[in-house]
Point group: D2
Chain length 470, copies 4
């Protein structure tokens, strides 16, 4: 990170935030107040497990998954770092079952064994798909550098060796395990790219090249995390994960060369993860934003101003629309493929949820930025409250005349800075794929026969036949 | 209508469309294909009844109600004219029960007797709320003309006499019965306005002054209804309903002077009806629009054009968002008030559904208007296909070179004219109240304590206390 | 029209509206109040002429052209029917000059002679471009029916004979003259489609197949035009213009086979007309809409309601944005091609103007529809005010308690019906080409070297060179 | 800054960026390539001066002012820090003239003397308006702390003493001079708040409490400014400016107690500055963003992808709309008040420009964020290119298979991070006041008589008279 090796993820203030978020997901599972949200019974191991290690077996499970997602995100104000692994497990449980049925492989058995191990040891699992990729004008096999997508470089008796990189990967360096999926469907000839597996996150040959943003720098230099906009849990921390000839034993390989199934894995992951990103975690994030806006309103004496209340209402509408699409994706979910025992969200609603939230989140940032005011971006450091030359001035002039402690006022603006003047717009857009990915998927799956039939019947259209004279 | 008395609603081509829509709702109830959608078992009368006469007793009922709404609207391409009555029954079943519990009245018993009669006789019931009202700057009691809201003018031993008018009322003249609710909450002193009742739609003293739009004129002069954009079922037909000293017997009076409960009746109607308008019938309408756009694409050879497919996808997203909000309103619905046995949709989601669809429908019109092209508004009459001077030209030049019969092409454009160049934008906006009504309701019901608490916890805000020096 | 021959354009209530609009354009030119707007000095004939017959020779002329467009449209509330001819004259004056310079033709001379005749006789000139066209998947020469674009069928010593049709043509049947341009650029082999000419609008072989919309039917059956939303000038009247072997003498042919120049004619017309449609006439239309909304506000006592005032402000912003883009298109206009003496608007700004107004007009309809209320679509006929059975009720209940004559209130709502519940959304979108046409043109003309250079300089990017190891 | 005193604005990497931006404005004035943009002839001192010290005397001057604003912002990619002072000079030149005319004061003379000094010495001048203010529910005189707006605390023979603070002030600490205006109009009794003056920016009693954002921290820890998104000129640097009993001699006081004129100063500043912010500098910023998006397209081989080209076109439309509104504000500008010799932009267009750009800029961020991809927020530090453990991986995997140097690719993404994942959305919104300020101003100045008259004439509305029976 930032050009230097991180010796200890707990000591580095930025990597530590991921540990803290992960840690919270364990604490809540033990907390009687939140246990019902964060755990559920797993028949696989015949005991209660952390929900983030569980594969949904009903639409009720999908709805519970959505509620857990909203809960964790509103508590953290950042990524829980476990949902990609969670959603990848859904995709693998489903598709390994289908491969075994069709091809006579034993991937599903392997995956279930792996899942049992994860549940029993209560491990946190990250997931990785996105790849650098070469020029969008070329096919994969024509790239000069074949490693711009993760590639099997050797098939050995005891396992495979892979080389390549995954980019934009959230929190993997502080998870126990990492599930790796292909990024895209593959054609014949691309067998070496059709690969899915699990690996300990510290396996030999893996290097994490961490993101370094202005927010990373700010945390690095902070004297007290409570100067920051999301003190404990920070911004979303990602890394490029380089696999430089990493060995994976066969028992952790869940897809290897069956090119027809790469697309299914990706598609099932995508619809699950789009429900998560679109209908779940952003709903929780919006709760923090809305709460901060209400506090600012109170501090400044703006709580009766109609246009501000209307803006907050607009945020509520955007939030509830996200929630509704997430709920619908769960309610309309189904066993996929039939017989597999794995329930996945509805494809259309999952994509609709994500597509809506992309725009909704930027709009929420716009509205919250309006309410928070210029101070969101122009505020001095909270350190000024301890600076003898400035503290009285800051106390006086940033109080807005309210009797709220000025530190509180500044902190709430700092939280709004975190949400509206940083990485969340772009991040929300691209997590689970940008809007074009959702549009393409919708174009692929939505059919129109019913709609055309309605029109034909309403208008009593004649059947097509050659026109006179033609 | 149009300055003249309509002697027979079946002979007048415009009023007839309402009869046709109502008739379809009876036919489907008998059709094995659609019976499950259109009927359900009513414990009140211990037999299957038309769903539009039934009050929901579970969230599953609410979901089934939503599906029926979408089905009827996509089949009709216009209002079914029974949902206002349907939703008004929900509001009355709920609030009469509460009044009886609290005030010791017997409104609920009366209403249930009425509902049994409706179910047994299989009657169609319209509903009426909206009133002309006086200057928005004055309170009701200060209006020079007290009848701008419906008012009790006499309380007699056998019933009440009311005077006033309801405006924008869909299809009442061709329904058997009419349920009348107050339009707004009422304050003390306004007891004469706090009134709800049912009446046969042809009671003495009732006059229907029908709308007359360009579309009415077009239907009046059509030689063949298949020249028109929605041949059988037409545009939504409404009327101003004047009550000029109409007598209502006590057994049909369900609310009379209890001003505290007027607002509850209105509010419960509104949330039910907003789910209907926002998450149900527009979804069906959009199906017709999308179907027509797909057909135009095919006729013109545009089926592979990316920006048009993207526009259709956008319509799909708008439609599914509406459906999701409707589903969420049903799923989150609850018994209201507890103990009443009446299930109503979730207030927030009902309002969100309606608010979203207002904008979504205008946007759908914009997109469909783009795809349909200028011909939507410039097309000649379908009569030209029988005009010897022009028919060959029209056949040739409006074929777009496709082998589809030109009449079909013109009819599909005519259907798009019906949807995009007529009354649907404004109508959708105002049905169940304009967006401001939804925003106001949301401001009233949404609380923010949870959201503020999240922020306070995340930032460890200090409790407010006087600042040093204050 | 409507399947029957129109014997006299003055007697038919729909065709008459075009005559009225044309007539107004002559009246204003004589009216001292409006003369400066509607006329200007033409060096060609050395006298003042109607501005709609004049080709701009400076950016000031272009600005005056914009002001005239806004003036005529706000006075008419519909198309003036002369601007397509006006803009086509700009395209021809420019491109005939260029052809003569390059090819040694004499088209420019012919066109100037024609223009002098038009100015001297003070004729009104319509214009025509849009064609039915065949499947968008085929090239022109592959269409089974070659006449889906206008085609030269014979070249004779005295002139040419053309066959085909133009669609969506505004008001041509009531103009003196008609200028015909190609719709698109043409490639080699398509010489017979590369044709531009002028013809008297009643030339032999021309048939007008008029549009017939709900609004046409309404006007047909009106007893008094003041029952209608735009009493005198009506909706935009268009027709499909069929050219069934129409002869055009050489002196009226301005382009004939020079395929390289078809695209230039179209492009120059488009940029001129997009400034007109985007920055000129819709600004005037919006003035009528805004005025009606203000009146409704007053009638209903809503003039102090914040959200309505904010909506009207939004309409003002949309209107002024349109005006600004129109002004910028004029200000940045230039002599095109240099030396021709013809000034055309800026390509980018012309397209931006049109693209913005497409969305702005739908949005204005949405906002005005909100303010006008449900009555816009549910109002009864103004004939009810003379119907003894209903007139007292209508007087009472549609007064909104104001002392404004009820007829006025109804008429203003009728005008809003004309604007928000009819053909204007789709019409505005497609006039001068739908938004995709503007986007394509912008993609063609906007270059990005300057922008890329800025970034390279700011970041001191290294020149591209092979990477080490490549 | 950040809790510590900045000893030298040139040594501190953040404050230095302001000096660099200011410095550039001097360099360009000397550069023959840019001299025409950056300088103009001032009759006051009879020589060429930096345009940023000049008060417009014609609409051509206003147009040149707009061009200079776009030029400087596209070159800097941040604030030039001189436009608030520039626009404040316009407001003071105009209003001091009016005060002198009406009240017989000598403010104008003083101000012109000051301006001559500024021009002669070629000083850079910042400006300051925004104040902390107390509860929005209270009037100024009721605030417990009277200094939440800047207040005169003493009137002495030689000048005045003021106390208070200005917030969100761009770059003042590195300007020579600071012009201070009131933030709002004032009522009788508020004379001590009705004050405008100029002061050296380092006058005794002035303290700058600088903003400290994540971007500040990032610059603090950078080893090489070319690791950063805007290497030389950085993010906009602002400060809270505390005036703790600052003395201002009378010759620098331009408004003192004339409460009727405070609002005029603010209003004239606002319309000038809104043209600047809405139609000028954001246009330049967008050029950088568009340029970066085009480069990313090329690096990734996406230059032919239709939806990305459409997104870039949308940015172009937003940019040109901003430019058009700015041009219109200049073109429609006028001498205000008449006789003063000072030309100010058109009020309506200035506000429209700013209002449009607020939304346009967020939308541009959204679009650019889509094109740049997740890497915008997840990219590692450019330091990794020098880190032996990671540099080969970064070279390989962030090349996207292109032959562009990876450092270039990363730098362009870093520039997009600067624009889309930082302070620009909120900053653009609030600079020159948030959208509500523009809406309020438009509601104040736009009249509707003309529009209502158009409707009355078109419909031949009767004059209002009592209805029969009233």
């Amino acid at each position: 990170m930032n050009g230097k090796r991180v010796e200890n993820v707990l000591d580095n203030p930025n990597t530590r935030t991921v540990v803290e978020a992960n840690k919270a997901s364990y604490e809540w599972a033990l907390d009687p107040k939140y246990r019902d949200i964060m755990t559920c019974y797993s028949p696989l191991v015949a005991e209660n497990v952390n929900r983030y290690t569980y594969v949904s077996a009903s639409t009720e499970d999908l709805a519970a998954k959505a509620r857990a997602g909203t809960f964790t995100s509103e508590m953290l104000g950042t990524c829980i770092y476990r949902c990609v692994g969670y959603d990848a497990s859904h995709a693998l449980a489903s598709t390994t079952w289908e491969m075994d049925q069709t091809l006579g492989t034993e991937y599903h058995k392997r995956f279930i064994d792996y899942l049992k191990m994860v549940q029993t040891k209560d491990l946190s699992v990250a997931g990785a798909l996105t790849e650098p990729r070469g020029s969008r004008k070329m096919k994969t096999l024509d790239w000069p550098d074949p490693y711009l997508a993760l590639k099997i470089v050797e098939r050995r008796p005891d396992g495979i060796v892979v080389r390549g990189a995954k980019i934009n990967i959230s929190g993997a360096f502080a998870s126990h395990e990492l599930i790796v999926l292909p990024q895209s469907s593959h054609a014949e000839g691309e067998e070496d790219y059709a690969v899915a597996f699990a690996t300990p996150s510290d396996a030999e040959g893996i290097t994490y090249i961490c993101q370094y943003s202005p927010y990373s720098a700010e945390r690095d230099q902070a004297e007290d995390i409570y100067e920051l906009g999301n003190p404990v849990f920070g911004q979303r921390e990602t890394a490029m994960v380089v696999f430089d000839n990493v060995f994976v034993p066969w028992k952790r390989v869940f897809h290897c060369g069956e090119v027809k199934y790469s697309g299914k894995i990706v598609g099932r992951f995508a619809k699950t993860h789009r429900m998560t990103c679109g209908g779940t975690c952003k709903v929780g994030f919006m709760n923090q934003i809305i709460g901060a806006c209400k506090l600012v309103q109170e501090y400044k004496g703006l709580d009766k101003v109609p246009h501000i209340n209307e803006q907050i209402t607009e945020m509520v509408v955007l939030r509830e629309t996200g929630r509704a699409c997430g709920m619908a994706a769960a309610t309309l979910g189904s066993e996929d493929p039939p017989g597999s025992g794995v329930f996945l969200p509805d494809e259309v609603m999952g994509n609709v949820a994500k597509l809506n939230i992309c725009n909704a989140f930027w709009r929420t940032m716009t509205l919250a930025g309006d309410i928070g005011g210029g101070l969101i971006v122009t505020m001095p450091s909270l350190k000024e409250l301890k600076n003898p030359e400035t503290k009285d001035f800051v106390q006086e002039f940033l109080s807005f005349g309210s009797d709220e402690p000025t530190a509180n006022i500044m902190k709430v603006h700092k939280l709004l800075q975190h949400w509206t003047a940083g990485q969340h717009g772009v991040g929300t857009w691209h997590g689970a794929g940008p809007v074009m990915a959702q549009k393409i998927m919708l174009q692929r799956v939505v059919k129109f026969d019913h709609e055309k039939e309605l029109v034909k019947r309403a208008l009593k259209l004649e059947e097509k036949e050659p026109k006179s004279g033609d």
